[in-house]
């Protein structure tokens, strides 16, 4: 009951985060690679309701910031002019779903002021915009990789469990090999032999494919267990007695019963694989600059001076937390549901 109650929260949270990320172009005020070189490491912009004269404004506003010395990262607000935050405003062009060109942004301020709700990085790029765009890579990378490995696992596991014998032995030994493969070194090796001209999209797919292909062994084992027990069930034996083909049995009886396990696995694997992508990008093996991902954004915080001076550079490290909690809530729910059904 307690678990069931959490489901709407988890689903709502996931839906919300994914929508934000899908509509990153709209929600974020700037594009992920727009540099403002005089705003290097600008702190989060303060949103004001009261101006310097103490007058209240219903519409929130910001001040433009500038650093006194051009080489310093200490910024001061210029309080002489207010820049109201406008909503549904026109700004830099982006493409919605990668197809429709669009200029409307959820919010923005007029130049020369810029709004950095989560601060700016070393090149003066808006962290919020990068976090949202970076979520695309990290969240969907994790999702696609998990889908790939669960699909592979479902296929291989069902076949191994259903046919048994030599086929089972062979497939499970292959699965063992995949479990012991040090995937990190594998990816290093793959990156080293690939040509340099690899587009960010291709790098993304490569990361997804590697994580997904290496990760199929565990779901395959679980599905195999289900298939093994199902194939001896009376209804399966009966269907076989009536002359059902192997393909029919797999499609009609074995795979549907493995579906619950597969979904639970998926909910467990997605956060793991999101983390895998974050780690790979953190180490510079994932997607490359200027395309952001939570991992390569967090990689900047490896540098001591950033760690001690600019706390907002650590936010990409917090971003996965709500996602993981929501996915784990979902996995708990699925698991409980599976147990109550069986």
């Amino acid at each position: 009951m307690r678990i069931t109650g959490r489901l709407p929260v988890a689903l709502g949270c996931l839906a919300g985060i994914h929508l934000l990320v899908i509509f990153a172009g709209f929600v974020s005020p700037y594009s992920f690679d727009a540099q403002e070189r005089f705003h290097s490491f600008a702190p989060p912009t303060r949103v004001h309701f009261f101006d310097s004269n103490g007058k209240f404004h219903l519409r929130p506003f910001v001040y433009a910031v500038a650093s006194g010395d051009e080489n310093s990262n200490e910024y001061r607000e210029d309080r002489s002019v207010t820049y109201p935050i406008s909503f549904f405003t026109a700004g830099e062009e982006y493409s919605l779903f990668g197809v429709w060109p669009c200029q409307r942004h959820l919010f923005g301020v007029n130049a020369p002021a810029r709004i950095y709700l989560l601060g700016a990085d070393g090149f003066g790029r808006d962290q919020l915009s990068r976090l949202l765009y970076g979520g695309r890579v990290s969240l969907f990378g994790g999702f696609l990789a998990a889908a790939l490995s669960v699909l592979l696992g479902l296929g291989v596991g069902a076949m191994a469990g259903f046919y048994g014998g030599r086929a089972d032995d062979l497939m499970m030994r292959i699965a063992d090999v995949f479990i012991v493969v040090p995937w990190f070194y594998l990816l290093l090796a793959i990156r080293a032999v690939l040509p340099l001209h690899i587009q960010p999209e291709a790098a993304f797919l490569l990361v997804v494919a590697t994580i997904g292909v290496v990760g199929w062994a565990r779901p395959a084992r679980l599905v195999r267990g289900v298939a093994l027990s199902q194939r001896e069930r009376n209804f399966v034996l009966a269907a076989r007695g009536f002359g059902a083909s192997n393909f029919y049995l797999l499609r009609r009886h074995i795979l549907p019963s493995a579906w619950g396990v597969a979904l639970t696995q998926m909910a467990v694997l997605i956060p793991q694989f999101i983390l895998a992508e974050v780690i790979l990008s953190f180490l510079g093996l994932g997607i490359g600059e200027p395309v952001p991902s939570w991992g390569n954004m967090l990689a900047y915080a490896q540098q001591y001076h950033i760690l001690v001076s600019y706390w907002w550079m650590l936010i990409p490290g917090l971003a996965p937390v709500p996602v993981f909690l929501a996915y784990h809530g979902l996995a708990d729910y699925l698991h409980a549901r599976l147990q109550s059904v069986s």
Binding site: D33, Q35, R37, S40, E70, N71, S72, G122, F123, A192, P195, L196, H197, Q199, P200, G284, G288, E289, P290, Q302, Q303, Y304, H305, I306, L307, V308, S309
Partner: protein, 585 residues
């Protein structure tokens, strides 16, 4: 009787005191080198962090920085370049004369000098050392410097304390080549050399009794993965103004840490007392730290390191890299290279990467090299309009999306290779990528692990452009010969040229050879100015920026005088001393 006993007691105390004092006092029969630095007090130790372990302690084969740093402290050279004044000064050779034709150098060695194991040093050791360095089979990295017009120098012993060096042609910088050429102990290495095993000698498994040198320190202990400890060499040949034997420090410790950030943290924690090669960011963090009253930070000004973008102009005779051939059509066009140079905002690099503690460059000579920089060359103006004009004149055009197309209508896309271990260069690459976007050029930054990146540049030539940096070396033009000469070992943009591929490379070759034999500074400067002009005009490498040398040390370290030639801080470790004894700190 009583009085008599008292006298002898007093006498014996005086005698003991005299003996103790004599341990620190030099013997009169030696030719000491008297240091002019502040007089200090003996004792204490100093720790310095290295980013990697040394690979060897053998001066003949060492190429990596940690090895060279340690070896410099353990060995002596004949003539030394003062890192502070950048001028040559006597070291193991107390004086030298040059023949009027500029080909013969006669060096007088100091007398009575001993290696750290107590064996005497004389002309035979010098002759042996140069025999080893000049031996082609040994493949010593120093050999190239000892050749003039392709001919090795000859070395002959005149007597036990004088040696004559003869060059095939007048050699303008002869004095300077002796710097950092470690004199080897013949008694320890002659057997290894005869057996052809000199390259394997003095690796990291060597025990302290098997290694000896003429440096201020000698090997005490090596702990793999952790530290290298050197101890005071009691036979060192320098004294201070008061006649005390140098060095003052008892131990010099090299700690191995993984990154500059770790280096900063160890320094802040007090594990190391001196730090070198700081990034401007870390320099700023250190200067703001509440513990900053414990140490002094110094900006020694622009160094000699220059960072540049190099175009791959290598021949692909075997046709292994068809993609590269297409791109080389652009790279070989001078206007294209000039357009890229004009589109790079060097001031943004200095501001964002070096926080203002750096200098934008016009050529490979940095403002730190005041003696040789061609100050008439302006730093290229950042101008997208200029860059566009240059591209247009070279037949490039833009499509309606603003993407740059070459003469054949192909989009201009290439990669910028950079070593992922260097955060500053990666930052530069990201800035350049953004700059080039304004020209409609699509570039991709590829950050590879250091070795993978250098392999591509030096071995396989499988890259388009690369962002590299060259640090170290001397201020003299001769040290950049291997980059500038068409047949040079590090002629990055076109390695292994049999003959100069272009007229301007031919001109550089001739100018560099001429300056090598020109005997006066004005003449050489004129020749080298022209070389810088050619590089700035033809741009096989686009020189970007040079960082300042940023260093720090504990407040009470005496004689801390950083220089801009490597090693920036440890070059005068023999003169370092603690103003406050270790116990009271």
């Amino acid at each position: 009787m009583k009085r008599c006993c008292g006298k002898s007691f007093l006498a014996s105390i005086l005698l003991v005191a005299a003996v103790v004092a004599s341990l620190r006092q030099p013997a009169a029969s030696q030719d000491w080198l008297r240091s002019t630095a502040d007089v200090g007090r003996p004792g204490g130790q100093l720790a310095f962090a290295e980013r990697a372990e040394p690979k060897t302690l053998n001066p003949v084969t060492a190429v990596d920085r940690p090895s060279r740093d340690a070896i410099r402290c353990m060995s002596g050279d004949l003539i030394h370049i003062n890192r502070y004044t950048r001028k040559t000064e006597p070291a193991l050779a107390k004086s030298w004369t040059i023949s009027p034709d500029g080909k013969r150098f006669t060096l007088q060695l100091r007398r009575g000098i001993r290696f750290s194991d107590g064996a005497p040093f004389d002309a035979d050791d010098v002759v042996f050392s140069f025999k080893v360095y000049l031996d082609e089979k040994v493949h010593s990295p120093q050999r190239d410097l000892l050749l003039v017009s392709g001919q090795p120098m000859t070395v002959e012993k005149l007597d036990a304390y004088s040696v004559r060096f003869t060059f095939a042609a007048p050699y303008s910088v002869a004095e300077r080549v002796f710097d950092s050429l470690a004199m080897l102990p013949r008694h320890l290495l002659e057997k290894d050399y005869a057996e052809g095993k000199i390259n394997q000698a003095w690796n990291l498994n060597v025990t302290p009794d098997k290694i000896a040198g003429l440096g201020a320190f000698r090997l005490k202990q090596f702990v793999p993965g952790e530290r290298l400890v050197l101890e005071r060499n009691p036979n060192y040949w320098k004294i201070d103004a008061k006649g005390q034997k140098l060095p003052y420090l008892e131990d010099l410790v090299f700690l191995f840490v993984s990154s500059q950030d770790a280096e900063v943290m160890r320094f802040l924690a007090g594990d190391t007392q001196i730090i070198s090669g700081l990034s401007a960011e870390n320099f700023a963090v250190l200067s703001k730290d509440p513990r900053s009253s414990n140490y002094k930070l110094e900006d020694a000004g622009p160094g000699l390191e220059y960072n540049f973008l190099v175009f791959n102009l290598n021949d692909d005779t075997e046709g292994r890299l068809p993609q590269l051939a297409r791109r080389q059509k652009w790279f070989n066009d001078r206007h294209f290279r000039q357009a890229v140079s004009a589109a790079i905002d060097r001031s943004a690099i200095v501001r964002l990467v070096y926080r203002g503690r750096g200098a934008a460059l016009a050529s490979q000579v940095t403002p730190g090299n005041k003696l040789w920089i061609n100050s008439a060359l302006p730093v290229p103006q950042y101008s997208i309009a200029n860059a566009r004009q240059l591209l247009q004149s070279a037949g490039f055009s833009w499509n309606k999306d603003g993407n740059l197309l070459d003469k054949e209508g192909q989009p201009v896309e290439f990669t910028i290779l950079v070593s992922s271990s260097n955060a500053q260069r990666t930052q530069m690459a990201t800035l350049i990528q953004d700059d080039l976007k304004h020209l409609g050029m699509k570039s991709q930054v590829v950050a590879l692990e250091f070795r993978a990146a250098t392999d591509r540049v030096v071995q396989s030539h499988d890259y388009d452009t690369a962002l590299l940096g060259i640090a170290g070396g001397d201020v003299d033009p001769t040290t950049s010969m291997s980059v500038l000469l068409s047949g040079g070992q590090t002629h990055f943009w076109h390695l292994g040229e049999k003959k100069p591929a272009t007229l301007w490379e031919d001109e550089i070759d001739q100018l560099m050879q001429k300056q090598l034999v020109a005997m006066n500074y004005q003449q050489r400067k004129k020749l080298y100015d022209r070389v810088q002009e050619i590089i700035a005009e033809e741009l096989p490498v686009i020189c970007l920026a040079s960082p300042h040398i940023l260093v720090g040390a504990k407040q009470d370290l005496g004689n801390f005088r950083p220089g801009i030639i490597e090693n920036y801080v440890l070059w005068n470790a023999d003169e370092f001393f603690w103003r406050i004894p270790a116990g009271n700190r």
